[in-house]
Amino acid sequence: GSEPAGDLTADEDGGVTATDDDATATEDDAAATDDDAAAEDFGDDVTLTFGHPFPPTDPMQVNVWEPWVEEVREATGGTVDIEIHAGGALAPGPQVYENVVAGAQDLGWTMPGYTPGRFPITQIIEAPFVFDGAIEGTEVATELWNEFDAFQEEFSDTKVLSLWAMDTGDLFTRDTPVEQLEDLEGLTIRSPAPLQSQALEAMGANAVSMPGPDIYDAVERGVIDGYKLANSATRVFDLGGTTAYRTICNCYTGAFVLAMSQQAWDRLSPAQQDALESLTGPDLAMRLAEGHQGAADDTEATYWPENDVESIELDPEEFDRMRDAVQPVFDQWIQEMESAGVPGQEMADRLFELTGAN
């Protein structure tokens, strides 16, 4: 927070009510004497709206966001209050980011994969066959974010507080075990994101994009033969009963972003901005990634065995064949990036260097 805009806004907005606000803040501060934050002057009270499309019962909502809201309140001497609106009450999934851009909501948590075409560079976090888990995905995402300006520019119309990866998604099928590339031929598979659709098609499957909550009905009815989905989400959507096989392939990692509207950021005082920054960024990203990974490990240990989902270990040669089959997708991505003036080749090289996946 290097800009003085926060102060200016506060002064302009404050006007007649400034004294009242100060009085409230002082009371709050007095109440929290133990807190280091109490000594600082955080400025006016601010209430931020935080909307996301995931259910209010989502593990991240319960285990991370609700405590986090408390931490922000404490770290800002009670001056920053965050109201969470879960379940898409502020905007449906594909609209969350634009809503943040427009300042119609202050904070938004969403998946860039929900809006094909909008975040072409971020798709690299969703690259198939690359990441072995949420932690690695998040570490690499952070590295690439710091190293490549183009990546940051993709989100230039908001203030990105955290960017992280979900736990890896494998390939799940209803009744066809997928043990080799040819097994995918003609299967209709739900795809979570655009790059994944291309990868599935390159492997000979028919890709269908559909939201997570629709998978159950579709796979149950046999409309799709299988799905790519974050491993932990198979339990969230309770897909175990519909699913016979899981092919271990590190097929997919979903990227998440926590974005804040620039207007809302500018409304904060420098002290508030500092406090918020200390509670977001890579640390928060890692905390979220650990949450996802924990849920994934637990799903593997208990949920799949309970539901007779058989895990198929791919023969290393088979894995390489699949990996080779989707090489054109990487190439196309690199080419599209390069022609848009984005160092796609360099990003991909760095990705493989960091993950050792190639």
Binding site: R118, G186, S191
Partner: protein, 201 residues
Amino acid sequence: MTPGMPEPSPNGDADAADAAAAAGAPAGLTLQDLQRQHGDRFGQGLARVTMVLHVGAGVTLVALLAWTVTDIVGRSFFGNPLRGTVELTELAVVVLVYLGLARVESQDAHISVDLLYVRLGRRAQLGLRAFAGVVGFLVVAVMTWRLYVYAGQLDAGGYTTGIRRVPLYPVALLGVAGAAAFGLSILTNLVLVVRSLVRGR
């Protein structure tokens, strides 16, 4: 349709109202009366435009049917469905709905409640129509504007569908066109009502 045969309709109140009218139920002053008495050239021109939009909607529906059936056959018998059926279906429905809206208005075929309306005198009925027209025009005008803004966001952000990467904004713009025609139809009908009120007949 056979004269006197009410238009079949699963649930449309409008057709139901037609049927009820044909069957002698109290329907009150109708829009058709007003159009006969006070219609003008702009209204007729707009009616032609809404007709064209409506035909566009019908073509979309039939094309969607053909596409879906081809997809089912391809999937069931050849293991080879059409690419991107789900996303194209979603877009087609947006198109057929918005292109169809203006004609719903120009035929006064909204789902509305006539309980009070049919018990009023002619001037009071015109008054209610004027009120509903003003509210309807305001709501649809704002909606059209915001849909236009949204189409701009879709364009600027490069939003596409997931599989075929069809850009979304042209579809949203078709929606804007439909919504705009819808708003203009409301306005035209409002003018008819006001004219009738002023002329006192």
